[in-house]
């Protein structure tokens, strides 16, 4: 079968090796045949049919896949061939959003160029009626399905050239399109943002995203060629780096220089190239403690920062790690850690815009890469980088992370070593379900990064049971119970979890009965809490009550407006009890004759907890919201509270002078505070001080239950009367 064959193309007699396609034969002899779906380095598929030629057969042949045959007479530019080709281009143009993104950016959309050269200005055919949509989920690549001509070049680029196997065909006929993985949004897929699909795409269906106007200022933006030499950037698209040149800068820090400070808002992450840094919490660690300034009847409460040695809450005895936005946690006793070359910090700040969780200072001369979100996203999808990060996490952080969970604190080192290579590290995008209610329980999850929302499906809608941050875990109830998931857990933002397979979890339970007992206790408590919550929801179907979020509260400060003389004694008492900073405002929503004062409600769905960069705000076992010692005063919880019920309370503290560490200087630091119900006393000061019996701290369901039931009964009675 070897040897050459002779054929004629457009009257020219040529000879080509056997097996050559007509397209290649023509190209070799300088005869142009237009095409859209074909590229030289990809397997020809002949889907666009723009390269049709007349080979003297009953139908035209696609030149890109039709092999040359001896004596074949090929015509590439006869009027009927050109007309057939133009019709195809015109049909494609009818659905094409002209000018597409590529045409707008660089003017080189192949379809539009072809249409222009064929003189097709306005297609005669109608556009498709149902839009195919856009996918902006990826931070580096924009997907415009409207501009896709289904040429499959991206699929072959991804599968054949890069071997990533992410892109494929989805749907049939009118609904046909390209999809990522199992037809998930590109940002949620396993796409590594290598950019091959963008390079392959002939139109504006896949284009580079560029961050506009947010380029990092000072610093040294490295050349893409230099970046691509770094192992962690292996496989990243050079075009992407070129287009986003300002989004990645190299910075140098001398020992002692602060790279970022806790509580600050930022939008970048840091990757350490050389040197080592110290990560620590500079805010003094201590509770905001209420205590009597004088003993006896004439007592006065005051707020102050209680030193951790001086005062430890009962349930904190076992908690020894502070979660931060880096690959390691900080020990509670001495919240300092060291990170070295090849480590990343500031991920949550960069991806979810959470405040910085810790202060980072250069310990040695340090070189870091500071990057914006799109670059970090590309890095995180890079298999090499991901593998390296995961390896480091398994080596350095997994053990401390596991031990930071009180029930696992006593786990022997050999079992941690056993788990080290068996656990899976999985990343979820915002909104992605990690486990679904009713599915078989096959694994236990530990939250490594981000926040997880736990919901239960009930008639009438989902109920939020809780939010889980770094260091929390879920999945034990299904594994310990009937083997089915009892709730749905969804990623609220970018979430990393450690997945421990069901068999390993069961092995752990069988080997360590103490852990089993602790987990069963936790599962029982959670189950009871969930039951209470669901019961609360079912008991109160009253619209306004729900609309005002009163059902969410566990404790409300109510002012009976029929009794209240607006004397403000409650506010004065609160301010007096808390160093002149009131934690309540006599303003808020009204329900019936009651004013729901602005004061912490101890919500059942505590949105204030979401996003705390150091996990310092949490529930006590009693469901009361508590702010941990290591609050860094960033104020995110105060902004998250939908009712404006949390405040930042300034305190004068002494800290080491940065210029001379041996000397202490006075400074002001903030800690988040909410109503503490004046726990030192039997009754909150606001209620105690009300002269008119108008202020009450109540459990809303019990308090309003009778009233709502009576109203409901009244309504039912009225309806019955009307129907009669």
């Amino acid at each position: 079968m070897s040897g050459s064959i002779a054929l004629t193309i457009d009257g020219r007699e040529i000879s080509v090796p056997r097996g050559t396609t007509i397209f290649d034969a023509a190209r070799m002899h300088g005869i142009p045949i237009p095409t859209l779906c074909h590229q030289q380095h990809q397997t020809p598929v002949g889907v666009c049919r723009v390269c049709v030629v007349d080979v003297g057969a009953r139908v035209y042949a696609a030149a890109c896949i039709r092999e040359c045959e001896p004596g074949m007479k090929v015509k590439t530019d006869t009027p009927p061939v050109i007309q057939a080709r133009n019709t195809l281009v015109e049909l494609l143009m009818a659905d094409h959003p002209s000018p597409c993104a590529r045409q707008q950016q660089s003017g080189d959309c192949e379809l539009e160029s072809l249409a222009k050269s064929a003189g097709i200005a306005e297609p005669r055919y109608a556009r498709r009626l149902s839009p195919r949509g856009r996918d902006d989920s990826s931070l580096s690549i924009a997907v415009d399905h409207e501009a896709c001509i289904l040429c499959d070049r991206c699929i072959r680029g991804c599968d054949e050239v890069k071997k990533n196997d992410v892109i494929g065909r989805t749907g049939r006929g009118y609904t046909a399109g390209v999809g990522f993985d199992l037809n998930v949004p590109m940002g949620s897929s396993t796409c590594v943002s290598c950019g091959e699909c963008m390079v392959s795409c002939p139109t504006g269906a896949l284009t580079n995203k560029r961050i506009v106007g947010t380029e990092l200022g000072d610093g040294d933006p490295p050349e893409p060629e230099w970046i691509l030499q770094l192992p962690v950037f292996k496989g990243v698209s050079g075009t992407f780096l070129e287009l986003n040149k300002g989004a990645l800068v190299k910075r140098h820090f001398a020992p002692g220089d602060v790279i970022c400070r806790e509580g600050e808002f930022g939008s970048t992450a840091y990757y350490i190239l050389e040197g080592s840094v110290e990560v620590f919490i500079a805010t003094p660690i201590g509770h905001v403690k209420q205590e009597d300034a004088q003993a006896g009847w004439f007592s006065r409460i005051r707020s102050r920062l209680a030193d951790r040695q001086e005062h430890t809450r009962d349930e904190e005895a076992a908690r020894r790690w502070i979660p931060i936005d880096a690959s390691t946690d900080l020990p509670y006793d001495k919240p300092v850690a060291e990170l070295g070359a090849g480590e990343l910090f500031g991920e949550m700040t960069c991806m979810s815009f959470h405040p910085r969780s810790a202060t980072v200072r250069a310990k040695t001369p340090v070189v870091v890469l500071e990057m914006l979100r799109n670059v970090l996203d590309v890095m995180q999808k890079n298999k090499t980088f991901r593998a390296e990060l995961d390896r480091k996490y398994r080596q350095r952080a997994l053990e401390t992370h596991l031990r930071s969970v009180p029930v696992f604190a006593s786990m022997p080192a050999d079992f941690v070593a056993y788990l080290r290579d068996r656990v899976e590290l999985i990343r979820y995008s915002p909104g992605e379900a990690i486990v679904r209610q009713g599915d078989p329980a096959d694994a236990f999850y530990l939250v490594r990064l981000g926040f997880v929302k736990v919901t239960e499906r009930r008639p009438g809608g989902d109920i939020v049971l809780t939010y889980l941050g770094r260091g929390s875990y879920f999945g034990e109830m299904g594994l310990l119970g009937g083997g089915l998931r009892t709730a749905t857990c969804t990623a609220l933002d970018h979430v990393d979890v450690v997945r421990i397979a069901g068999e390993d979890f069961n092995l752990m339970l069988s080997r360590f009965p103490a852990i089993r007992a602790s987990l069963e206790e936790v599962a029982r408590e959670r189950s009871e809490m969930n039951r209470q919550r669901v019961r609360a929801t079912e008991q109160v179907p009253i619209g306004e009550f729900l609309t005002q979020g009163l059902m969410e509260a566990q404790s409300l400060l109510l002012l009976d407006l029929e009794k209240c003389t607006r004397c403000d004694q409650c506010v004065r008492a609160c301010a007096d009890a808390h160093d002149g900073v009131t934690r309540l405002v006599r303003e808020g929503l009204r329900f019936d004759k009651y004013l729901v004062a602005t004061s912490c409600r101890q919500c059942r769905d505590p949105l204030c907890m979401v996003g705390c960069p150091v996990g310092a705000i949490r529930r006590r076992n009693s469901l009361e919201i508590i702010i941990e010692d290591w609050c860094i005063g960033c104020g995110l919880c105060t902004r998250n509270c939908p009712y404006g019920n949390l405040n930042l309370h300034p305190f004068d503290v002494e800290v080491p002078d940065p210029a001379k560490p041996s000397r202490m200087i006075a400074t002001t630091r903030k800690k988040a505070t909410g109503c503490d119900l004046c726990m030192e006393h039997a009754e909150p000061s606001c209620v105690y001080a009300c002269p008119h019996d108008a202020a009450h701290r109540v459990e809303p369901l019990t308090f309003f239950g009778t009233m709502l039931a009576a109203k409901d009964q009244g309504r039912t009675g009225n309806t019955a009367a009307t129907s009669k």
Binding site: I301, L561, T565, R566, Q569, V585, R586, K593, C690, H692
Partner: protein, 292 residues
Amino acid sequence: MIIDRSHRGWAIASGVILAASAAAYAAFATRHAGPSGGTPIGLMFGIAGFGFMIFVTLLSVRKKFPIWRIGRTQSWMRGHLWLGALTLPLIVLHAGSFTGHGLTSVLMWLFLVVYASGFYGAWMQHTMPRKILRRVPMETIYEQIGHVRAQLVDEADTLVAAASGKLEVAVPVAASGAAELATVMRVDADDSAPLREFYLNEMRPFLASPSGDHPLAHPGTAAARLQKLQSLLPPALHGAVGDLESICEEERQLLRQERMHGILHAWLLVHVPLSFALMALAIVHVFGALMY
């Protein structure tokens, strides 16, 4: 404080004290000519009455230190009401009559004024909060009224400026979204002239320095004026008129709140200083009686 069922204990105790005092008085009166301040039983009534007066006066001190754990303030208030109510009968029993001479006469008249103002205050506290609740649904914190009022002026300025062009008053250019919320469309200057004129000549003066005498302070008159204004404007501006009407209503509620708040608390201006004056004179009286 509203006197309701929860006051039953205090009411019974006060009734018992009053009945016992009356019985003691009656028993004494049948044997003697009736007690005066100098008789032992008169002195007893005087001491009890004065003691109650001291306790009642201490409520002000209690309120100055709201977080002192010396009994709930509402308990002090209950004591203030009921023991305060008992003081007059006890003092009358002490004095033997309502009349007197010199200092005692002044004391008795002052006492009556304080007593009456206290009753008036208690009645106010029973009725006025309910009225405020019902009649001022947009109630705000009293101290914030000035601020809210300034916001209303800004909002109205922005609304009218958005409809009819820049006003000849200092209007914040980038008003906080009020223009976006407002249901107005910009129309020709001529068409919007009545709106502009009404606003600058009538409504803005009302918002800037509100007074109960202003026509817009009365809902009926305001509605008539705004209706008339609406009839002069193109439909595109009717939404703006509706928004101005809402602003007027809010301003009226602020006026009402101010007035009702004043009524609710004004009696204290009489009650509190006169109570202290009464206490001072009572002390003088006690010392005078003991000395001479």
